[in-house]
Point group: C2
Chain length 364, copies 2
């Protein structure tokens, strides 16, 4: 078992990564001093595969466990499902010592995490991510959220998990497309803060796609370490943490403009990274090598490198960007690469530049 | 203008109390360095009386202001109104620098505060309470919440206001019953931590009921100081802050059992304080003087001292208490007075004792 420690004072927590670690869920809750009751929140895809192992482990450790299942997919990050969880927690008699266990991908982690953050003004949440994206991104760092009709993640809370438990074996049941989408975020960490890691990915990306065990544990561990480092330095996203949004300004806008259909989050981020590369080039911040190395690695990971959506007015995407919660005063803020391994936040990118970058990504 | 400072490190804030202070709302936001946009959230009772002064002041200081009005009453602390506010904030283009101004009683403060706490994972909220209860209790301390069908305040967040602005002149339009209900919390502060203040209330309660200006500003200021002291020492209700719940375990249960109708929050707290007094007597923690002085002062403030609800099984009220979010492991926790000015938290009160105390409160 590999352990990554996230240092946040009294909100510090551990991330345990290891094949078969699902069955140590009970031990994790015991070591946290968790109260008797817990609710495992999962979705209709993940529940049938893994909820049994997790609840078995929790029951074996003496906890009273109930499972709450939400529909699979981004649409569950809704006010309706949030209210459903809150009411379920009441019905299950969860109190302030109880634990919410979020078992699933980013949707389950964000939704259950936000429900836990706000139920009784905040109860313990343990994240057990089962997608590559959730393992390396959403389960670590304490950001929880739901979507509104107007956009993704518009409502949420900072609520650090009490622990994160990652079992890479769960990734083997992921559709390949989902796995590839998660690798976009893995590659992102290399671009924003770790050139040697990016180089290792250039060497190992096929082994990672095949989920070769040692490569997978190492890559996930490294991403968690990097995210933990950023999160510890900037828990509430006032500065440094913004670099994690590399590829996300354009990415979120693409997702929103496509109605969250057609593009997976990681695919949108991959395209956002490419757009960011071209904006950085246009601003003279970097040469074409960043764009080309990014593009080559993303392509090898099975990610789209051109816009697969039907022709549409880029202005619509820009409108969404202006409403992105990271926008300030209506200006577009983008994270842009100086070189592989280093980025900076640029607060006033001209909308025309982003529009032009999007144009170059539109498939033939 | 009287100023009370709440010391919470980077979340410190000021409470300004003074007749006519509504018209300094613009200055307060300017001094906070607030962004251009703000939303004034108010209710259908308060809005027509005071929203004009507040928005005028904000516009005069250069802010772009829109008013969002919710129905008056506890039922607005709902998932539906919460979602409505979130969507309104998007429609108004509120971003992370924007401000939510909560203008109204506890319902508006709790609802708008929670919406601000969670919109974009937390934006600035300025509280302008317009009921006695909100002035001395809910606007200070950072607790925000909505209700679920199963109980009050089951969902919420700790989100400190950026500032609190109290204009006692607004209290003159309060129905006398609402004013009296707020005085229950004022009296509570005396019982839990300030015997000399309790004695001043024994002298001045009629002047306070008549809203005599100096007495009112002084009493509100003292309550804010006391609450600020408790909040600063225990922001997230892990220990000391529990004393503020004096009268609330039974009070909340009475409100829930009456379907939040028939009893105002402060009236329920008054009855809860009397029940707590009798439980403390039964446990031999205190003599009958605490109960009798409480009862006399509450009665002079125009508060009920016997249960005005129809005869019903006290077991139902107890069930609600067991589900109160302050319960741990199903036991009933009560704050009980040792003497006027000092209370302690008792974690395992026998349900029968609370039931018996309730019996003695049932009117003839």
């Amino acid at each position: 078992m590999t352990r990554v420690q996230v240092q946040l004072g009294e909100r510090s927590y551990s991330i345990d990564i290891g094949d078969g670690s699902l069955s140590s869920a009970g031990g994790v809750l015991t070591s946290l001093g968790a109260g008797h009751r817990c609710a495992v929140v999962t979705d209709a895809n993940v529940g049938p595969l893994y909820a049994g192992v997790v609840t078995g482990s929790l029951e074996g450790a003496g906890f009273a466990v109930e499972t709450v299942t939400v529909p699979a997919g981004e649409r569950s990050k809704s006010v309706e499902q949030l209210a459903r969880l809150w009411n379920a927690f009441v019905a299950l008699d969860l109190d302030r010592d109880s634990t919410v266990v979020a078992l699933g991908g980013g949707v389950v982690g964000d939704l259950a995490g936000f429900a836990a953050a706000t139920y009784m003004r905040g109860i313990r949440c343990v994240q057990i991510p089962t997608t590559m994206l959730a393992c390396v991104d959403s389960s670590v760092g304490g950001k929880t959220a739901i979507d509104l009709d107007a956009g993704k993640n518009l409502v949420g809370a900072f609520h650090q998990p009490a622990a994160v438990l990652i079992d890479p074996a769960t990734l083997r049941t992921l559709p390949k497309r989902q796995l590839a989408a998660g690798l976009a975020e893995v590659i992102k960490y290399g671009v924003i803060m770790d050139a040697p890691f990016f180089e290792r990915l250039e060497r190992d990306i096929e082994a990672l796609l095949a989920l070769k065990s040692d490569v997978t544990v190492e890559a996930i561990g490294r991403c968690c370490e990097l995210k933990a480092r950023v999160t510890s330095a900037d828990e509430r996203e006032s500065g440094l943490r913004a670099i994690l949004n590399y590829g996300h300004t354009v990415g979120h806008a693409l997702e929103a403009a496509s109605g969250y259909e057609g593009l997976l989050h990681g695919e949108a981020v991959a395209l956002g990274m490419l757009a960011a590369g071209r904006v950085a080039e246009a601003l003279g911040m970097t040469g074409p090598d960043v764009t080309s190395r990014q593009e080559a690695l993303l392509a090898r990971a099975g990610l789209p490198t051109s816009l697969p959506m039907p022709h549409r007015d880029a202005g619509g995407v820009l409108d969404v960007m202006r409403h992105d919660k990271k926008s300030r005063g209506g200006k577009i803020t983008m994270v842009l690469a100086v070189r592989i391994g280093e980025v900076k936040v640029v607060r006033d990118v001209k909308p025309e530049l982003a529009a032009k970058a999007l144009e170059t990504l539109r498939g033939g």
